[in-house]
């Protein structure tokens, strides 16, 4: 199912939280939804679900959510790990939501087992840890086996094993031809989990592309070359690649951008210069994200209000 968010717009007083944001989430892949704190990710998710009032529309397979006969079969959302009644047991919570989509009791038990909630299914969730609350929230989202999963920071509070499980599960879920949109601050996790990313800052779209394309665009993709005759090497590289492509990294090393290791090695060879190291350095999603959001961030640690 394709999810199309068009011109989503939300203001709180004079503050624009989401600014005419449009993007598509496609099936068969995990889409990461990234942005700095306060960038409007959670508000966007709520707007998509029509939980918040604002402008714009989100179409789920071409129709607004309220025009689908059974919304729980269309989208399962997990927005907060604390959305439960403290004295309603985990099993009763899931059975209540199962009633919204005529989901069977057997499926409730299956989800309890899948999420490792068997030992706490009868317990009241008021004593649940953040991680256990996340599991219950995820159980809620996948209960009716929806076509689309919308998850807001689902890995918060999960232990490493659970995060690993979540990553595999979401990739498996998407591989079934379903649509998964996950917001997260854990960029290293998103790098291995997501196929595609939507990046926003100050409520505006900064990127909507594959993880690979985003990372390849980063300026930190370069070639490191180390040589005892670094000055001569710098002159040779500058002559062939231009002055902007070559930067002194350390007293005996240069960083060369916009060139492959083959090309840089070939230039050194042709000039008869010795090479001690030749390494391709690839940016991480985190580096690409930081570059992209540098100008769009409202609040930076140590930087005050931008």
């Amino acid at each position: 199912m394709i999810v199309t968010a068009s011109n989503l717009h939300k203001t709180y007083g004079r503050t624009v939280a989401v600014d005419d944001l449009s993007f598509q989430v496609r099936p068969g892949q995990v889409t990461g939804f990234l942005g700095p704190n306060g960038s409007g990710k959670s508000t966007t998710l709520r707007l998509m679900l029509s939980l918040d009032s604002g402008r714009g529309v989100t179409l789920w397979d071409g129709k607004p959510l309220n025009l689908h006969a059974q919304a729980p079969k269309v989208v399962g959302a997990h927005l907060d790990a604390k959305f439960f009644h403290p004295s309603r047991s985990a099993r009763a919570h899931l059975r209540m939501l199962a009633a919204a989509s005529r989901t069977s009791r057997a499926r409730v038990e299956e989800v309890i087992s899948l999420m490792g909630l068997e030992s706490v299914a009868k317990k009241k969730p008021k004593g649940f840890s953040l991680g256990m609350g996340q599991r219950l929230g995820l159980a809620t989202a996948i209960l009716a086996e929806p076509e689309v999963l919308l998850l807001d920071e689902p890995a918060n509070g999960l232990d490493p094993q659970s995060i690993h499980w979540l990553r595999d599960y979401l990739k498996y879920y998407a591989s079934q031809g379903r649509t998964v949109l996950v917001s997260s601050h854990l960029l290293s996790e998103m790098e291995v989990m997501a196929d595609h990313v939507v990046v926003i800052a100050r409520g505006r779209l900064l990127a909507d592309e594959s993880v690979e394309d985003l990372v390849n665009r980063s300026t930190t993709n370069d070639v490191l070359i180390r040589s005892p005759r670094v000055d001569e090497l710098a002159a040779a590289l500058t002559e062939e690649l231009g002055p902007d492509a070559v930067r002194l990294e350390s007293p005996d090393a240069l960083a060369v951008s916009d060139a492959s290791t083959d090309r840089v090695g070939d230039i050194a060879f042709r000039h008869g210069l010795p090479v001690a190291e030749l390494t391709k350095r690839t940016a991480s999603l985190e580096q690409a994200f930081l570059e992209l959001t540098e100008s769009g961030q409202d609040f930076r640690i140590g930087g005050g209000v931008a």
Binding site: S53, P64, L79, S101
Partner: protein, 239 residues
């Protein structure tokens, strides 16, 4: 119909529903029995009719008002207090359907619990041999108790939805009850029309057979008006 199944499970799966319902039943039985002491203290009077005892236990009893308001406030109160309204409105994006599903559940639950309470009160009187004929008919008691309890349940339902404040939804109807009495006591002599435009005073006039159509109309206008305000806010506000 899924919204009704959902609401049924929502109400059934929290202990507060059961405890509050039990207290309504116990309170009705207890006050029906306590009512019998009124004629014991005054031996010159006949025994109080059973229908009066049962009606008296439920009508105008502040404890029952608070308990019934608790039932009415639960529908939205818990949802907003614990954030589950977002789960509910994700599962049911049509907010009008959610409103009427919760309204129906609240009305059904209130009438069911109050019917049990009335039966419990009557059963206790029968068991203790404290029955006497006379007084209003059972049909009169039934509709008056139904209107009275629904009034407080729906006031709580509306106030909780309007304010998104669960405790205020519970005590709001009792405050309104006391406020109306105070306002009428202070201003009623000067402004004779005042009781006829207030919701609870109109209900009492309706029960007493005074300007029945006008009183019932004013009462209904207040109830529908408050529910409509709640519905409009539910549709327009962020969840």
């Amino acid at each position: 119909m899924e919204i009704l199944a959902f609401e049924y499970r929502r109400a059934k799966s929290i202990r507060t529903t059961w405890i509050t319902s039990l207290f309504v039943i116990l309170a009705a039985a207890a006050f029906a029995y306590l009512g019998t002491f009124a004629d014991d203290f005054d031996e010159g009077l006949d025994r109080i009719p059973t229908t009066d005892l049962v009606a008296g236990a439920l009508l105008g009893n502040p404890i029952v008002i608070v308990l019934i308001a608790s039932l009415g406030a639960m529908a939205f109160g818990h949802e907003y207090r614990y954030g589950t309204i977002r789960l509910t409105l994700t599962a049911f994006p049509g907010r009008v359907g959610v409103f009427f599903g919760k309204l129906f559940t609240t009305v059904a639950l209130t009438l069911f619990v109050v019917a049990l309470a009335a039966v419990a009160g009557y059963a206790l009187l029968v068991l203790l041999g404290e029955t006497a004929s006379g007084g209003p008919s059972w049909a009169t008691v039934a509709w008056q108790v139904a209107v009275f309890t629904l009034t407080y349940a729906l006031l709580a339902f509306s106030l909780t939805l309007i304010t998104r404040n669960h405790p205020l939804g519970i005590i709001g109807p009792l405050i309104l009850f006391l406020l109306e009495q105070a306002v009428i006591g202070l201003l009623g002599a000067r402004l004779e029309w005042l009781p006829s435009v207030l919701p609870l005073a109109s209900m009492q006039s309706w029960f007493s057979g005074v300007d029945v159509a006008l009183s019932a109309g004013v009462w209904a206008a207040w109830m529908v008006g408050l529910l409509l305000v709640g519905l409009v806010l539910l549709r327009r506000r962020d969840a």
